[in-house]
């Protein structure tokens, strides 16, 4: 029975970690390629969650929300990059911080005007609203298993996309040396729009997936933003693989901590981050 509880917590931790990966991989890609700090990344997560809430309310099902979050996120991200972030690539960090802080405030205000300031739960799709009996005394939510599967699928697509395709190699090259990419005849600006669109789509997909698990509420992106930063610091900036392992690590530590040592759980990941900064400042999973 104890073991079953532990097993459930480990699965929860992995699933939370994979959601974190969807958010932080976008963050790390956007910074790696564009050198832009996006504090509004957590708000994009929130927008995805509210999109799921709204669409689930209209259509009665979450299924439409997932492709809508991906497509809408890609369009929204491309629009944001085209209108605003493009101008801030060469600006100081301070300007980028303030620009994205302003976006947070405007997104929150829009959320408050369009929906309201209450908590809302989002129903788990009826098709998955059951538990899978794993052993005689242990069952696990089918929706959580589906989230695990979807996130792993997206992670695999990300790896293939970045490591195995021509566009992926251009993205990796741009992260190394943007001017060189220009010289090679690849339009870096289109690459930036693409990366920002993908990052936004991932964050909004994560929000839509998370909506039934933790309900939607004002400022829900803030906590995820901070944790994603910790993931990026621990994983090493610009590294998809680093973000993946760090996200799983943080997800497990946070979830198991909340379950077994709640007093220390809030600070555990920050202690880990401090240790990483002390011993491996370039990130736990950085090469060399």
């Amino acid at each position: 029975m104890q073991l079953a509880g532990l097993f459930a917590q480990v699965l929860n931790g992995l699933q939370y970690g994979l959601l974190l990966f969807l958010i932080s991989s976008g963050l790390t890609l956007i910074f790696g390629v564009m050198r832009v700090i996006n504090l509004a990344h957590g708000s994009l997560f929130m927008i995805g969650a509210y999109l799921a809430y709204a669409l689930a309310g209209i259509t009665g099902s979450l299924w439409l929300a997932l492709p809508a979050a991906v497509a809408g996120g890609a369009l929204f991200g491309a629009a944001l990059e085209y209108t605003l972030f493009r101008r801030f690539r060469e600006r100081e960090h301070l300007d980028q911080v303030l620009l994205t802080f302003a976006l947070i405030l405007l997104f929150e205000e829009a959320r408050s005007a369009l929906v309201d300031n209450q908590f809302h739960s989002v129903a788990i799709p009826a098709m998955l609203d059951f538990s899978v009996r794993v052993t005689a005394d242990f069952a696990y939510s089918a929706y959580r298993i589906a989230v695990l599967g979807i996130c792993l699928g997206v992670a695999a697509l990300m790896f293939i996309g970045v490591e195995r395709t021509r566009v992926g190699s251009a993205i990796r090259a741009a992260a190394e040396n943007a001017e060189m990419v220009d010289l090679l005849g690849i339009d870096a600006r289109r690459l930036h729009t693409l990366v920002f669109a993908v990052g936004t789509a991932l964050a909004m997909l994560a929000g839509a997936l998370a909506a039934p698990l933790q309900s939607v509420y004002p400022g829900m992106g803030d906590g995820f933003l901070i944790i994603s930063f910790v993931v990026v610091v621990i994983g090493g900036l610009g590294s998809i693989a680093g973000a993946f392992w760090a996200a799983l690590l943080i997800g497990l530590i946070d979830t198991l901590g909340q379950a077994y040592v709640p007093q220390a759980a809030g600070t555990a990941i920050y202690v880990l981050m401090a240790a990483v900064l002390l011993f491996r400042p370039a990130g736990l999973f950085a090469k060399g």
Binding site: L98, F101, I226, F229, M273, A274, L277, L278
Partner: protein, 310 residues
């Protein structure tokens, strides 16, 4: 970072005199508004030492501000009576400074983007300590006993007395920073902002100078937090939240990154804009968001870019 010239400092002194005379001509409401602006100015000044000084954009500053405010509460709770301001003010500075000295060595192992992220994360860690544990009276905040100024206050005398206290502390903080920026330490700090590697090559211990600036800035933010606690008699975990750090960055940018007196101009401008916004709409974040957008898109040099100092 430019410091105001003699003429600029004289203008600031005249402005201080105008504020000091407010009890003779202004309503308590406007005096409170001036106090709010002056506390924001102290907080932004502490951040200016990092941003304008060494080019370090920190998002942990609000955590030190909040620690300073909570020190007043914790002192009062421990003593069982209001602490004297002669005790609570240094205590707030010390607690915030020590916290900065503990966080600084880790955060300063990073630069630029990483520095931002680590200061954000450490700041939020402190926020969660006060938000999630009972140490600071809980997530909703607590009313506190104000520090004892050494004489009895009535409801009517309170506002002008706080106004003058805030003004005195702000003036002292500005003078101290003005002096600091004219020492070798200040020059090295500016040198780091211009070219960190060159300062290192010249034999300066860059990390130690940055850490010293981080600790001093933390202590000054703690003093600002102490004054906020004195004025409001209330503390809550939101004081430590990173949104307040971002607000302080906005004030710094609004006033002008390049000038020591910028945060003072920025804080008054920001407070007035907020007040104006409140009078026309309920939607505070809309006003604030648009102001920030306007500031980053249009006002590149800040208010101090208007000629005031060279």
């Amino acid at each position: 970072m430019r410091c105001a010239t003699l003429r600029g400092n004289l203008l600031l002194a005249v402005a201080a005199l105008v504020v000091a005379c407010m009890p003779f001509y202004a309503s308590p409401y406007h005096m409170q508004l001036a106090s709010i602006a002056m506390i924001a100015a102290m907080f932004a000044l502490s951040l200016q030492l990092l941003v304008g000084g060494a080019g370090m954009v920190s998002l942990a500053q609000a955590a030190f501000f909040g620690l300073g405010a909570y020190t007043v509460y914790l002192l009062g709770r421990t003593l069982g009576r209001p602490p004297s301001i002669l005790v609570s003010l240094p205590a707030s500075a010390a607690v915030a400074g020590i916290a900065a000295a503990l966080i600084g060595p880790f955060a300063l192992r990073t630069r630029g983007f990483f520095f931002l992220m680590t200061t954000l994360a450490f700041g939020q860690m402190l926020f969660f300590v006060f938000h999630d544990t009972p140490i600071g009276g809980g997530a909703d905040g607590v009313f506190i006993q104000r520090p004892d100024l050494g004489f009895a206050l009535t409801r009517a005398s309170r506002t002008p007395v706080f106004l003058l206290t805030d003004l005195a502390v702000l003036a002292a903080m500005y003078a101290a920073l003005w002096w600091l920026m004219h020492t070798l330490f200040g020059s090295v700090l500016l040198g780091i902002r211009a070219n960190e590697d060159r300062m290192r090559a010249m034999g300066h211990n860059v990390t130690r100078v940055k850490l010293a600036a981080f600790v001093i800035a933390g202590a000054l933010a703690g003093i600002a937090g102490h004054m906020a606690a004195l004025n409001d008699a209330f503390v809550n975990p939101e004081l430590l939240g990173w949104h307040r750090s971002a607000e302080a960055l906005l004030i710094v940018l609004l006033g002008g990154i390049g000038a020591l007196h910028g945060p003072i101009l920025g804080a008054f401008a920001y407070t007035l804009i907020g007040e104006f916004g409140r009078s026309i709409t309920e939607r505070q974040r809309l006003v604030e968001g648009l102001v920030i957008l306007a500031a980053v898109l249009l006002l590149r040099r800040g208010l101090a870019g208007l000629r005031f100092a060279r």
